[in-house]
């Protein structure tokens, strides 16, 4: 028996000390009657998740939507877990407030997750034949390993113009990309084709040699996926779309009474074209579609997202569902100090690059955020540290953090975040800042520093592994890139330094006896392939050796330390991905004329040229799926990582470092003619303008994470204008004077 809307609202009020916890706009969204789709544009700090959860519970209780017919997607696993938790807790609040009907809600019957996880789950549940027991390539690095392993034709393409055309190498490059860079480029191109449903035949029909080459390579890639029963993330969605078109898919789409699914999509601004298609197919039977997002916070163009999906949602609805949606704008910002709200409003509303007379750059009808936070205080909440050099700026950042902590103005370091476009710890990014914090003994957490591969323990373990596999540094069948050779030497040296002068004798003994065991390994010349086996006959794998080494100090002790544990895990996970593609990590042998065995040259080459190449110049720490903010430490994050989070104090570091026109924008241009979707803009802005949009949205997200204090810090102030914006007269805030005039306090 459905609950009356008034009873639902009364229960909400009872659960919140007599006050309905929804403002006028949020209430409009929650009370929507679903005669038309719902289009919620939710600015930062306006209670998007809060509204979504109360809306969903209302759908179940008041609209009588069965939980098992609800699909709720969001962008990350963390966000999905949070949504599910909030649903459970809010349901309990309703029960505690006396709404007995809420007891019958079984939250677990709602399909909640990222679209990838939901596709995977449903395809498995429905036993869709092409994806039964399929093996998923988990991320881009694994996909690149696969491109290498399957010897895609693009790996042989040394035509510099081809790679330049798609932005894979810079226009001024003089050398063709390395094998690893070709694999990266090929992966990006293939994903773009799949996500845009571009057919190889259409590319081929142009007779343009570059497109024909790409079509051939893409076909080879798809065939290799099929033959090895693998699937990348983009193809998983393509499979799902295909499934929906089958009779079984159609049966699944329509419920027993034919009413179809209720579909809610969070973070819709980062939807890509194939996802847009999926959502409209899911809602095709019912027209019951809710999308929530903020175009100003769209960050994932580089992964194929098209912000137009949200901006032009009304057109897409008209096309797919033949009706217009109802638009609701959530504007009341309950997160930030009024100065910060004013700063983000000025930034985005006045920005000339966010205006275009021919197409929508922002969602229609957007109005400024309203400040409604309980954070107040008569102080300048937006500050800047604009110095001539980064070391000077870093020193001031350290001083501010120390003062805040020493004077008890924050309770924990984790209330402070340092955000930047890139958090690599080099002088080109934010290395100067992180070094300064460490020198001042300020604890910090920076999982995307890209330096896991430089960690001493990590290098020593990798060095020990290589010492077992290749103690005599035997010749390889092909040349390695110089940087990989250098890195291999470094990791060997790190291992030798570790065990020098008798230290860690146990691990040295193990490595030495294992290297000897390789040389003396049993070998049967009558067999086509011989593999390295340990006593008992089981084949040795690289991972097996990794775990053996992990039993020795200093690695065993490292497992008890969070940071060292993370680094060793990074090595373990990538090794596992590599092994899943290369002989499950098993090691082929060859025997020399002297009767001495060694790991087969191609086995060694693959370990070096694919696995080591993949990590030798940048490796992030694995991130915890549960914890978004590490307690007790200043959290250093990329702005992308900070999406959905909030901090009391935010430092935005290095505003001179911004997204630039790159492969994403080149591919958008090159593939534009093949794309057929209803929200495709009638004309495409220049690469430069689209890159500027990306930068503006990125910094909009960064600024709006701050609750009490926002401090923009760096040097080269004359390069900040795109990302600090303009005043209402259209003048750039590209000097200290201009910033002061705009109300920014300079430290």
């Amino acid at each position: 028996m459905p609950v009356h809307m008034n009873d639902y609202v009364d229960a909400l009020a009872r659960a919140h000390n007599g006050i309905v916890p929804l403002n006028e706009d949020q209430r409009k969204a929650v009370e929507h009657d679903y005669t038309r789709p719902l289009w919620i544009i939710a600015g930062p700090g306006t209670g998007k998740t809060h509204t979504l959860v109360w809306l969903l519970l209302k759908r179940i209780l008041v609209d009588d939507v069965p939980t098992h017919r609800i699909v709720l997607t969001t962008f990350t696993r963390k966000a999905a877990a949070e949504l599910e938790s909030r649903l459970i807790l809010n349901r309990q609040q309703l029960i505690d407030a006396g709404l007995r009907a809420a007891e019958a809600i079984d939250v677990t019957q709602i399909t909640v997750g990222t679209l990838h996880s939901i596709c995977s789950h449903i395809l498995q549940d429905q036993r869709y034949d092409p994806t039964l027991r399929i093996r998923l390539l988990e991320d881009e690095l694994t996909q690149e390993f696969f491109v290498r392993q399957s010897r895609n034709p693009l790996l042989k393409c040394d035509d510099l113009v081809f790679w330049q055309r798609f932005g894979i190498v810079r226009p001024d490059a003089t050398f063709s990309p390395t094998q690893a860079d070709r694999a990266t480029g090929a992966t990006k191109l293939f994903n773009r084709l799949t996500e845009n449903s571009i057919l190889a035949a259409d590319l081929r029909a142009t007779a343009d040699p570059d497109f024909v080459r790409l079509a051939d390579a893409y076909d080879a890639y798809v065939m290799a996926l099929h033959e090895t029963h693998r699937c990348d993330q983009a193809h998983l969605q393509a499979h799902f779309l295909n499934f929906l078109a089958t009779p079984a898919g159609q049966r699944w789409l329509g419920s027993k009474d034919g009413s179809g699914l209720t579909v809610l999509v969070d973070e819709y601004q980062d939807t890509n074209p194939i996802q847009e298609q999926i959502y409209f197919h899911l809602a095709a039977h019912s027209g019951d579609l809710t999308v929530v997002g903020d175009d100003d916070q769209s960050l994932y163009r580089f992964r194929g997202a098209t912000v137009e999906a949200l901006i032009d949602f009304d057109m897409a609805c008209q096309h797919y569902l033949t009706q217009k949606p109802v638009q609701v704008n959530l504007r009341e910002n309950r997160r930030s100090h009024p100065d910060i709200v004013a700063w983000v409003n000025r930034f985005i509303d006045n920005h000339p690059k966010m205006k275009d007379r021919q197409i929508r750059v922002r969602a229609p009808g957007k109005r400024p955020l309203l400040s409604a936070s309980d954070v107040s205080g008569d102080y300048p909440a937006v500050m800047a540290i604009a110095e001539t050099t980064n070391p000077k700026a870093a020193a001031k950042v350290v001083k501010v953090i120390q003062e805040l902590r020493t004077h008890g103005m924050i309770r924990d370091y984790s209330q402070i975040a340092l955000l930047s476009f890139s958090t690599r710890e080099t002088s080109h990014a934010i290395g100067t800042f992180t070094n300064a914090l460490r020198a001042a003994n300020i604890p910090l957490y920076n999982p995307r520093s890209g330096v896991a591969h430089k960690d001493q323990l990590f290098r020593a373990l990798l060095g020990a592994l290589i010492e077992i596999l290749d103690p005599d540094e035997l010749p390889l069948p092909a040349k390695l890139p110089g940087s990989v050779e250098k890195y291999l030497q470094e990791v060997r040296d790190t291992y030798h330094d570790l065990v020098a002068a008798g230290a860690y004798a146990d691990v040295k003994r193990y490595v030495d006896v294992s290297a000897r065991a390789v040389r003396r390994a049993p070998y049967d010349p009558t067999k086509a392939y011989n593999y390295l086996v340990r006593s008992g006959g089981r084949r040795v794998t690289v991972s097996g050796l990794f775990y053996k080494l992990l039993a020795y100090d200093p690695f065993a002790s490292g497992l008890n330390d969070a940071a060292a544990n993370a680094r060793l895990k990074a090595l373990n996970l990538i090794l596992a991905e590599y092994e899943s593609l290369y002989d499950e990590g098993e090691l082929r042998l060859e025997r020399g004329a002297d009767g001495v065995c060694a790991i087969h040259p191609w086995s060694r080459y693959n370990v070096y040229a694919v696995f080591v190449e993949g990590i030798h110049d940048k490796l992030n720490d694995p991130e915890d799926d549960d914890i978004s903010i590490q307690p007790g430490m200043v959290n250093v994050m990329t702005i992308h990582q900070s999406k959905g989070l909030e901090f009391e104090v935010v430092f935005v570091l290095r505003p001179d470092k911004q997204p630039w026109p790159g492969d994403t924008h080149s591919m958008e241009d090159e593939f534009d003619r093949f794309v057929r979707r209803p929200t495709k803009p009638p004309y495409r802005r220049t690469r430069e303008l689209r890159a500027a949009e990306d930068a503006i949205r990125l910094f909009f997200v960064a600024y709006s994470r701050a609750k009490r204090l926002l401090i923009i810090s760096g040097n080269k102030i004359d390069e900040w204008s795109d990302v600090v914006g303009y005043d209402k007269h259209g003048s750039a805030l590209d000097s200290r004077v201009a910033l002061t005039r705009a109300g920014v306090h300079l430290l």
Partner: protein, 321 residues
């Protein structure tokens, strides 16, 4: 100017606490933690990748083929496959597993065994069994609260949800035509180890409670089918089409409310123990258990070489490779 004098009216922010509601399952979490918390913490919580996880070839092969036969039957193909058709289904499932990266030892023999067991299962039970199957891979999931008030989600999947199968098979206990049963296939023999059988019972009792919460009543019974038992040729020769000749083929767990409640209480307590462990300082988490761990669990664990609970650790660690 110092920050304190600059920030007039600043109020010290309180710390926000995010509550995570995690999902737990019987085998992957609770039993795994109870067997060895170190192994559980290392692989399930901290997320290291276990190479042995992909190697469960035989069980997956049997399971996939039976699932396929169920689906074909439910989509209207009322004739059950003969031996040749079973062999083809096994070969297809094998091919799929191989392509997905599972590397079995002596796969030809394992396929042959799987085909024999499945065909015998179909021959002995199929005609009475399949018409009663209501759902395969039946998902059970509920939000629950531990005794200390901690929310969590409990989930599980049973192989078969069926109508009055035991009744149709005339199994030797009281049944009715209204019965709803949950059946779970085990590809091996009935375990000799009592602790393993206890684990199976525990799992089925938790499923029974989940089923009750989902539908309002317990299943009439939970049934474990040890398909590996059908490999005994001598018994087969004697069976003459009578499944009951295989004494250990079918193991029934009746819905005993007290025992189910005890299993669920234990489940709650284990969830609390795991959550408490997660809150410990990093170096104090997931220490080796104080209780003995069975050898099979240790041998399947890649971090056994440095584990004080594994009696053979020192020897295996110092062996080359």
């Amino acid at each position: 100017m110092s920050m304190t004098s600059l920030l007039t009216g600043w109020s010290v922010p309180s710390m926000t606490v995010n509550r995570h509601i995690r999902t737990y399952s019987t085998t992957a979490d609770i039993l795994s933690y109870k067997r060895c918390r170190r192994q559980y913490g290392f692989f399930k919580v901290r997320g290291f990748c276990s190479a042995t996880a992909t190697q469960r070839y035989f069980g997956t092969l049997v399971h996939d083929v039976l699932d396929r036969i169920h689906r074909d039957y439910r989509s209207g193909s009322t004739a059950l496959p003969d031996m040749a058709a079973v062999e083809k289904l096994v070969a297809d499932a094998h091919e799929r597993l191989i392509r997905s990266g599972v590397r079995p030892y002596n796969s030809k023999q394992q396929q042959k065994t799987a085909s024999k067991l499945i065909w015998r299962f179909l021959h002995l039970l199929g005609r009475q069994f399949f018409p009663h199957v209501q759902q395969t891979e039946y998902r059970l999931e509920r939000t629950l609260k531990t005794m200390t008030g901690r929310d969590y989600v409990l989930n599980g999947v049973v192989d078969v949800l069926s109508g009055a199968v035991s009744h149709a098979l005339a199994l030797p206990y009281k049944t009715t035509v209204q019965d709803v049963e949950i059946w779970d296939y085990k590809s091996g023999d009935m375990p000799v180890s009592k602790s393993m059988l206890r684990d199976y019972e525990y799992q089925m009792r938790v499923y029974a409670e989940l089923y009750r919460q989902q539908t309002g009543m317990y299943p009439a019974r939970s049934v474990l089918v040890f398909i590996g038992e059908l490999g005994n040729d001598h018994t087969w020769d004697m069976a003459g089409g009578n499944a009951l000749v295989y004494k250990n083929l079918i193991y029934v767990i009746h819905p005993h409310a007290t025992r189910i409640a005890a299993a669920v209480t234990d489940f709650h307590n284990t969830v609390d123990a795991i959550e408490t462990e997660r809150e410990q300082p990093f170096h104090c988490q997931w220490l080796p258990p104080t209780h003995p761990v069975d050898r099979e669990t240790c041998e399947a664990c890649e971090i056994r070489y440095s584990c004080p609970r594994f009696t053979d650790a020192s020897r295996q660690r110092t062996e080359p490779l």
